[in-house]
Symmetry: C2
Subunit: 240 residues, 2 copies
């Protein structure tokens, strides 16, 4: 991959708005663009609430390093109310419980994988790059922070980016790939997050289309009892 785990940068960008004294409500939408690899060393986050309405707030957030802007983000925060609610997305059926799925042995590289308990039901990262092209790139896994900690908006943001570039699963081929833009919609509010606590969540991901150096993939994070916590989409750069 091109740089360090983009999920960390995305969560830091969000967190810089979360911790801002003028913050209103909770995040409902976040888009992060990865403009350059984050280098070891100082990084500064600049979060600006550019419009605050009665129940919504709009943010522009930038991450700066000595080399210039390394990431940009926009976020929408909102004060939510209870309303009619309904689910149209479909949680995968017949998925065994987390305890019934062996934990995937952590790989040495990348290092961030060691911070997750991952239990793949389908579509793990390939053990060998045998260049046997697959017909699809779907993954389904149980996922939990290591060490355990209660879910919050930062960890949901990180988890939105644990779905490694689908091209590795599709092509079983070593290549350069990195997220350029990541969008996450938060269906969960803090009350729902508190209900889920520090248990496993179910993650699913798939690619849509690979063309001329870029592809897109889409993912969902589900609570064990079938609540959609997050939907997430990203555009990924790749080299042949």
């Amino acid at each position: 991959m091109v740089g360090p785990f983009g999920g960390v940068t995305a969560a830091q960008l969000l967190q810089s708005a979360m911790q801002h004294p003028d913050r209103l409500g909770e995040p409902v939408a976040l888009t992060v663009n990865f403009a350059a690899p984050v280098a070891d060393g100082e990084i500064r986050f600049l979060a600006r609430p550019v419009r605050t309405n009665r129940s919504t707030q709009h943010w522009i957030i930038e991450a700066h390093q000595p080399s210039g802007v390394v990431s940009t983000a926009t976020a929408v925060f909102a004060v939510r109310r209870e309303t009619w609610s309904a689910l149209e997305a479909v949680m995968p059926a017949d998925v065994p419980a987390p305890d019934a799925v062996p934990r995937t042995p952590p790989r040495e590289v990348p290092a961030w994988l060691r911070h997750y308990d991952m239990r793949f039901v389908d579509g793990p990262f390939p053990d060998v790059f045998d260049e046997q092209e697959q017909t699809h790139s779907r993954s389904c896994l149980w996922l939990r922070d290591l060490p355990e900690r209660p879910l919050d908006f930062a960890s949901l943001t990180l988890m939105s980016n644990v779905f490694v570039p689908r091209i590795f699963i599709r092509r079983h081929r070593r290549s350069l790939a990195g997220t350029v833009s990541l969008t996450t919609y938060f269906h969960a509010d803090s009350a729902l997050l508190a209900q889920v606590g520090s248990g496993h969540v179910l993650g699913v991901a798939k690619a849509l289309n690979y063309r001329h150096g870029y592809f897109d993939q889409t993912g969902e994070l589900w609570s064990p009892d079938g609540q959609l916590l997050v939907s997430t989409h990203q555009l990924v750069y790749f080299k042949d």
Copy 2:
């Protein structure tokens, strides 16, 4: 709906980067946040290329009116190369050709509908709000500019937002709803757009989850010969 057609604002935001003298390549990702209704009168677009790499460029774009910031956007532009390509998303099968589907009579309101030739195969905007809740909110339609004009990135952006809030199709109920965040990934480059020309494109859309005042929906625009031109996602505010 809350304001004028957000597709126009989204296309204007993109266009302000397209027309910038420092622009590199073509758009691959665009996210627009609708911060406030656009009022009749002056609107200024401020497009800043915040990072230019060898083959990618990152933009922050703002739309200002006397009331303040009304929209924000980020965009990623890129110089693309031919690579291995593959499609995983599935175009709807058994869709009759555009000529075999009657044109949906244009409604008076909203006015922007008159600027499209729309031929619904499934999931039209309800004729009456009979409050009969449906089991899903999927739409499938052939779509073309009126008057006819060749597809470009601006029109693809507009078309990304023609999928009216899914809640109307799901609930058949009059309510307030408006897009707060719209993300579009461009799989089409200008060469592919030139191939499609001014013909109809096939649009599909569906909702994922409605919860506590917000829902998300996802859409695709396909060329008649089965190329995915755009995938698009949005978060929508709604009132009961």
